[in-house]
């Protein structure tokens, strides 16, 4: 529906076969990146930290984008992340309510930037999962687990229906009540 800034990719790669190792182990990783090139780069970054292989002596076997299976179903996403603050590394667990995982990840990056001033390159996503409603930990997501949810929209700002009709001054004070 909307254009996502972050796409989820599955990258599969291995070290190049050599004389000592005819069939090196193949590793698969799911990551988030803005495009495929960055996804491959991130793959090597993580793989370097885990195994003794670099991009120069390895090969990417496949890279596929993973799309949301049910983008019309609302889900609670839990995201485990590791981020670098000004004083050190910290782990965090955050919950988001969204229809797609890409949307939840985008929400996470925006929230980390606003609440903790952490930029994109300082965040590593450890794990993501769809959480069933009973196991959600955060009150801000649990408050929407109500099948008879009902609330009024308190402050209704009237907007012109397109940016072209926007004016700086208005003839009369707009009515903000619903």
């Amino acid at each position: 529906m909307v254009v996502f800034r972050f796409h989820q990719y599955q990258v599969v790669g291995r070290a190049l076969p050599s004389a000592t190792d005819e069939h090196p182990k193949i590793y698969r990783m799911k990551l988030w990146a803005t495009n495929e090139v960055r996804a491959k780069s991130k793959f090597w970054y993580f793989l370097r930290k885990l195994k003794k292989v670099k991009k120069s002596n390895g090969q990417v076997l496949a890279i596929n984008e993973i799309f949301e299976r049910k983008p019309t179903k609302i889900k609670n996403y839990g995201i485990w992340l590791r981020y670098q603050s000004r004083t050190g590394y910290h782990n965090m667990y955050k919950e988001y309510r969204d229809t797609t995982l890409n949307g939840a990840v985008e929400q996470m990056y925006n929230e980390m930037a606003s609440r903790h001033r952490v930029r994109y390159h300082c965040i590593q996503i450890i794990k993501t999962a769809t959480i069933p409603s009973k196991l959600c930990k955060r009150e801000s997501t649990k408050q929407f687990h109500d099948s008879k949810i009902k609330f009024p929209l308190v402050f209704k700002k009237v907007r012109p229906p397109s940016r072209k009709l926007k004016t700086t001054y208005k003839a009369s004070r707009p009515n903000l009540f619903m």
Binding site: M1, T72, K73, I74, R97, D98, T99, T141, F144, S147, K148, I149, K150, F151, P152, L153, V154, K156, K157, R159, P161, S162, F177, M178
Partner: protein, 134 residues
Amino acid sequence: MPFKRYVEIGRVALVNYGKEYGRLVVIVDVIDQNRALVDAPDMVRGQMNFKRLSLTDIKIDIPRVPKKKTLISAMEAADVKNKWENSSWGRKLIVQKRRASLNDFDRFKVMLAKIKRGGAIRQELAKLKKENAA
């Protein structure tokens, strides 16, 4: 003044910004404080920000995330289309759309009709003034 129009499952809303401008949609579920899952009989179910929706007085009775068929039958049962078109808001929108789609000949006909109506009103007013003066 208490609130009368609530965001709830089954509330009919009008889209007032964006690509779907002018469409009547039903709030099918609430994602979080700013977004709702909306659905209409002729569109794919999607999420929308509350800033893009104007809530109406119409509410239909549906379970939390209904199938398309259930939604359509519930909308027929509640007769959303007729209620909307007979409401003052709905009628105003229809008139606006009609006026925007007039061609020059139609505008000429409107001008003649307005002059005729003005003449009839002035005649009645003159009669009443004469009665009053007498």
